[in-house]
Assembly symmetry: C2
Homo-oligomer: 311 residues x 2
């Protein structure tokens, strides 16, 4: 499939082409740059929502429920599930989730697991491009679901307009999340499995920790849900909408998107530079030997690599 057909198919919202385009991102395929350039003008319209939380808290069920609400409003929706720490797609990551299957036959819903088989810079750079493909294909609500609570997941969640952090009783404590920088990254907190013992305590602990933090323009709400029973979902949706409306009105959303794009371009350039530097060290045995034989220290070698890039 040539790049022009790929671009046209994505812009026309053709599902198979969208799937191929996301595979091209996963593989860092040669056509990726032309694809990116071809669709970029048609992006920036979708509302993107991140879903982060420890395994087992019910992120997928919550995602399926949010898709249901979006569809009830007749908005096209996509779910992209990523594991930033794994180069392989867990085949079962989304496929065997019963609730997600409810949406599988709906042409207005696109569901996909994603891995980073070859993309330089990993998921933090691959995910935003995949989100843009879905955006260009006309999906108006895009949910980006990650599997863990580490720095990589925070980075991926930061690539969305509204970041939801999901917790559940007995599934990792708030202190651990605070350490990973997750509290700062969240726009909306969801305490799922609200029917279980301990859910109100988790919500209370969370509110106390948030209260200790600095005052901000937007104070992240804490919503109790029981996703399997469909309870609390409308409230989550309302808070996401409220966050988005306020961020749009205040200019915070535009500022966030701008910072995100600059950071992405900078990171893409740095990763490509790194690959070129690695090749230069591979190709130039003399430079590598100078380093190993302690004639040229690492900082001086870095200067030499930068000098070569600029000559």
């Amino acid at each position: 499939m040539d790049v022009e057909a790929l671009i046209e198919g994505v812009l026309a919202g053709d599902r198979r082409t969208v799937a191929r385009a996301i595979s091209a991102v996963e593989d860092d395929a040669p056509e990726l740059e032309a694809l990116s350039a071809g669709i970029y003008g048609s992006t920036g319209r979708a509302a993107t929502i991140g879903l982060t939380g420890a395994p087992g808290v019910g992120k997928s069920t919550l995602a399926a429920e949010l898709v249901r609400v979006a569809r009830a409003e007749d908005r096209r929706a996509a779910v992209l599930a990523v594991d930033p720490t794994s180069p392989y797609t867990g085949g079962a990551l989304l496929g065997d989730r019963v609730r997600m299957q409810d949406h599988a036959v709906d042409p207005g819903v696109f569901i996909r697991s994603m891995a980073t088989r070859g993309h330089l810079g990993g998921m933090a750079l691959a995910a935003p491009e995949a989100v843009r493909i879905l955006d260009a294909a006309g999906y108006e609500v895009i949910l980006l679901e990650t599997v863990g609570v580490g720095q990589a997941e925070v980075d991926v969640a930061a690539a969305t307009d509204t970041a939801i952090v999901v917790l559940a009783p007995g599934m990792g404590d708030a202190v651990q999340m605070a350490k990973a920088g997750i509290l700062e990254a969240a726009d909306v907190f969801v305490v799922n499995k609200a029917d279980r013992d301990g859910a109100p305590d988790v919500a209370k602990e969370l509110k106390q920790m948030l209260h200790l933090g600095e005052a901000r323009d937007w104070n992240p709400p804490v919503v109790l849900t029981s996703a399997t029973a469909g309870e609390g979902i409308d409230e989550v949706w309302g808070e996401v909408r409220e966050h988005r409306d306020q961020a749009e009105a205040s200019g915070a959303l535009a500022a966030k998107r701008r910072a995100r794009l600059l950071r992405e371009a900078e990171s893409l350039a740095a990763e490509r530079f790194r690959a070129a530097a690695a090749r230069a060290l591979d190709d130039d045995a003399a430079l590598a030997e100078d380093l190993v034989e302690r004639r040229l220290d690492p900082y001086a070698a870095a200067h030499e690599l930068l000098r070569r890039a600029s000559s």
Copy 2:
């Protein structure tokens, strides 16, 4: 203090100058590159040992005991404790450890906590330079202690010749470590607090997981210790020595050090390039606007940043 005096002081093994030099690394001070160049020829002599493991497993006590063994052999020893996830030095990180204080008055021992206040690329790039300073100052055994079990700690531990991973009963399971890539990074496993219930089980579980892995030239041993009672320390020391002797004889140590230096130079160059790219985007409002207004996609912007670096 001028750079020449800094270099001379480090090479003479002057403790205060060594402390200042490590502070220069933490701050990414302007004199860092000249310092690095000035001491590099006098490095590569020390045996470097990484100590990684969850908080509370007893890494500091083990480090203090290993220092004791090194001193009994009349070898100068240094301990560098780093928290890769924190930009701040925990003042109490080492200072209040009783056993470490036993060494505080010994002129043949240097103890230091380290943070990354300003170093580009974080601890993964700051730690190797600090280790070289200690190496150039004549410390023959250098212990690099990290506080957690994440990817950042694995990266720091990889900067040493022999990586010890420390576990203890009830302190995080082996499966979690496997996910973080720690099993692959370890040359020697220590199960500390061997007097506690569950220690033999931890050792057994670990051996089973190691058995599942690929066969390698060096099969990491699992040593049970009770560091507070000084038990098992000689065996750990013996395994570290055995690992080092075998890695030296096979050429694995030279290959590891070579790969490490190439990777370090490449990363230093990439981080410096990234900083230059960020400045370029700051300085060139038109480029940033093209990106934000969707006239120039992130990949194309990255190309432009690379092009500018090479013109």
